[in-house]
Every structure is written in structure tokens, then in C-alpha cells.
């Protein structure tokens, strides 16, 4: 495996995470720097994700690199039954690095093992999406001025939501405290609570959203998806309870910022958008700088 690959946020040490954030801040000041001059980057999207693909491709173009690839599996040779191993080897004949999204979990780890060129994981099923985690960290860092000793409320689907799991792991370097707010069906899995206990990280749990975040620095909202529920009546109830409304923010701290990996459905009422604490659109924009930092690190 190329040791320059980025498969999982756990592949980066605390120092590497901080270095990425510092580099992202530089790119935010001067986005057009030719660190990928003459390089060819393949973006292999075995399942469509327009948002992530455009962000990575913009990052490559701003860094002076060129792009080859495909945006969904139907147009790739994998639809003819080619193995992932063969696709990766074929593409690595042309590209200096591969940005890959794949519907199967573990696809990125496997690709990184067989690939002669670095692999950047742009999401492997419900498993990892490290550039999302790094842009979350960058957004937190930017809005709070630090990552240390923060109080984070994680809200919504904490059972299947990969972004909250990766965020929890990454924040564990920085002495956080957590509040997990989720319906009974979508509670934070035991293994992550075990992880917190082992690391001495404080956390509390509740199933009620209302006013449970008055001491929070970050309110991290996630999508509650209908297909996660066996009981649709329960979904209808939860859907309405887990909508953040502007009036609920009345007593929140002034430095509180609301994050969401987007796209949202109805977890955040549009009346929150005009609140200065709403940060989810800037958060998405931060993704560009973070991806520039990730790509540049590969060739350093």
C-alpha cells in the first residue's frame, strides 16, 4: 500500500490532522497554487456523488492538475464485470493519484493495498469518508479558534451516521465532551461509548432534542432517514421531534455553530438559515480548501 493513501481518518495522527487544517487555512487565503502542476488525478466514482466529486475536481483544477475518470459505475468497465483490482491497475497507468468513491465498505482499504499510486477515499459505503471528517474539523477549528476542550452535541442518526462516528474518533485527540441526542432506534452504538470510556472522554445521552444543547459549542446535526425505521409511525414522530427550529437557539452560547454534512431534509428548519449560528453552507465550502490540502499532502 502506498503510505500516502488516505483511507480512514484513523490513518492520520493528531499532528497530521493539525497540519492539514493549517494547510487548508493557507489554501483559503490563496486557493490557486500549482502544487499539482502536471499531475493527472483520476476521480473514480463507482456510485454518483455530485457534491463530493465537484469539490475534489475543483480542488484539482485550482491546484493546476488535470482530471480523468468517471462519475458513475454504469460508464466504467466495472459494469462489464472487471474487478476493482484490475480497474485500479489500469487507471494507475495513467494517473498519479486516485480519488475513489465506492458503494462497498472496505473498497478503499483494498484499493490502497493493491494500487501502485495513492488512493484518496471519497467514501466507501457507510464506512469512511475522511475528507468529510477533515472539513468538519476545519469548520470547528475555524469557528471556535481551537479543537481543544470543546463541548459537542451530536444529533440525529447516531447509529448509522458515519460522519458522527468519524468525527468522534477524530475529536478524541482533543479532549472533547459529547452529548449524544438520538431517538432510541438510532442511539450511538456501544462500541463508540466503550471507546469514549477507555479514552476518558465525557459523554451523556438523551433522546430529547429540545434545549439540550445550551452549553454546547458545536451542534452537529445529521439526517434521520426513513429507511432506518422498522416502524413508520415511529419515524413520523421522530421526524417532527428532531427538527431544529430557530426559537430553540434562544439560550444557546454565542459561539455555538450548527454543522450538518448536507444534504438536509427536514432536520433543520429553513428559519435557522438566517441565524448567524448556522454554519452548514460555509462548512460545505470549507471542503474545497481541505481537499486541496489533502491532495497537496499526497505529493509532498
Amino acid at each position: 500500500m502506498s503510505n500516502k493513501s488516505l483511507v480512514s481518518i484513523a490513518d492520520y495522527s493528531k499532528q497530521e490532522i493539525l497540519a492539514i487544517l493549517e494547510s487548508a487555512a493557507d489554501f483559503e487565503l490563496t486557493p490557486n497554487r500549482k502544487t499539482l502542476d502536471g499531475k493527472v488525478i483520476a476521480t473514480l466514482f463507482f456510485e454518483p456523488s455530485t457534491r463530493t466529486r465537484l469539490s475534489f475536481e475543483t480542488a484539482v483544477i485550482r491546484l493546476g492538475g488535470s482530471i480523468i475518470g468517471f462519475s458513475d459505475a454504469a460508464t466504467s468497465s466495472s459494469s462489464k464485470g472487471e474487478t476493482l483490482n484490475d480497474t485500479i491497475h489500469m487507471v494507475s497507468c495513467y494517473a498519479d493519484a486516485i480519488v475513489m468513491r465506492h458503494p462497498l465498505e472496505g473498497a478503499a482499504r483494498y484499493a490502497a493495498e493493491v494500487s501502485p499510486v495513492p488512493i484518496i477515499n471519497a467514501g466507501d459505503g457507510a464506512n469512511q469518508h475522511p475528507s468529510q471528517t477533515l472539513l468538519d474539523l476545519y469548520s470547528i477549528f475555524k469557528t471556535q479558534g481551537t479543537l481543544e476542550n470543546l463541548n459537542l452535541c451530536l444529533v440525529g442518526d447516531l447509529k448509522y451516521g458515519r460522519t458522527v462516528h468519524s468525527l468522534l474518533m477524530a475529536m478524541s485527540h482533543f479532549n472533547p465532551s459529547f452529548r449524544f441526542i438520538a431517538p432510541e432506534e438510532l442511539k450511538m452504538p456501544e462500541e463508540y461509548k466503550v471507546f469514549c470510556r477507555k479514552k476518558g472522554i465525557k459523554f451523556s445521552e438523551t433522546s430529547e432534542l429540545n434545549e439540550n444543547f445550551d452549553d454546547a459549542d458545536i451542534l452537529y446535526m445529521t439526517r434521520v432517514q426513513k429507511e432506518r425505521f422498522l416502524d413508520l409511525m415511529e419515524y413520523e414522530r421522530v421526524k417532527n421531534v428532531y427538527t431544529l427550529k430557530n426559537e430553540m437557539l434562544a439560550n444557546s452560547k454565542t459561539n455555538l455553530r450548527i454543522l450538518h454534512p448536507l444534504p438536509r431534509v427536514n432536520e433543520i428548519d429553513p428559519d435557522v438559515d438566517s441565524n448567524e449560528k448556522a454554519y452548514y453552507f460555509q462548512q460545505a465550502q470549507n471542503g474545497l480548501y481541505v481537499r486541496q490540502a489533502i491532495l497537496s499532502k499526497v505529493f509532498r
Binding site: 462497498l104 465498505e105 472496505g106 469512511q128
Partner: protein, 151 residues
């Protein structure tokens, strides 16, 4: 003396002792003893001071490969492996799982890459408060030993 008469003596080979009675046929299955052409002695429901009733397998002229002892360590971690040479026990091998096992188990996650592409499975062995858990190197799911299918 009486004990020895119950199962035929083995000149050279491997004895797997202290198998819980309910696991004997699982052991037969994972070691593919049904198609093994060596002399094999199986015994079950023998009295055991340690575990009540036990099973026992003797396989003539065969040593167990590492992935076979790894499989046994998953199914019956307290069984004992004795290597026999010229009727003597020359080695007692405890069943200890290494930190990583390859090609031994199948990932129970249906959307794991290892269930769709020709990938050799690899699991990290997590030993925590007497309970062994396995973590797939690829999809990163943690599973209990009872949840995995042994290949």
C-alpha cells in the same frame, strides 16, 4: 490405564483434546475430516474433570496448519493440541489467536468488499475482558466470534 483403552493410541500425529462435546462435529467440519484420508479417531462425551463432557480427535500423520489452529481457537479456545511422535507427546500447543487472522473467517457484513471481490479476508483480533471480538480490516465492522462464518 483405563482411560488409555477408550481411545486407540496414536503413534504420530495430532490430538485435539478438551473439545466441548457440543463442538466436536464443528471441529470435524472445519478441519474437513470428512474427506481426510488419514486414520482418524473421534470420541465424544468422555468424562472430563475440567469441562464435564468432552470430545477428542486424533489424526494420524498430520500436523495442523496455522489457519487451522486459528479456526480451532475461535470455536473451542480452551481445547488442547498435543503433537505426538512415536507415542510420546512432544509438544502441547495452546490455542492462542494471533493479532490478525487471514482467510479464516467470512465477514458477516453483506456490503463488505470481501463478499463481492476476490479479496482475502483479514480480521484484527481484539481481546477485551475475556471476550474476543474481531474487526474486519476492510469494512472496519467489529463483530463477535459467534457472528462470523468460519471458512
Amino acid at each position: 490405564m483405563e482411560k488409555k483403552l477408550k481411545v486407540a493410541a496414536l503413534k504420530d500425529g495430532t490430538v485435539i483434546d478438551h473439545i466441548p462435546s457440543g463442538k466436536l462435529f464443528k471441529v470435524v467440519q472445519i478441519l474437513h475430516l470428512d474427506t481426510c484420508i488419514n486414520q482418524i479417531t473421534l470420541a465424544n462425551n468422555l468424562d472430563s474433570k475440567k469441562i464435564g463432557k468432552k470430545g477428542l480427535v486424533k489424526i494420524a500423520d498430520r500436523a495442523l496448519a496455522e489457519n487451522e489452529t486459528n479456526k480451532l481457537a475461535l470455536i473451542c479456545p480452551n481445547a488442547k493440541i498435543n503433537i505426538i511422535r512415536n507415542f510420546d507427546v512432544v509438544e502441547k500447543r495452546p490455542l492462542i489467536l494471533p493479532d490478525e487472522i487471514r482467510e479464516v473467517v467470512q465477514c458477516p457484513n453483506p456490503v463488505c468488499i470481501t463478499n463481492h471481490q476476490p479479496v482475502i479476508t483479514r480480521f484484527f483480533v481484539l481481546k477485551d475482558n475475556d471476550q474476543t471480538r474481531l474487526k474486519c480490516r476492510y469494512c472496519e465492522r467489529e463483530v463477535k466470534v459467534e457472528e462470523v462464518k468460519i471458512k
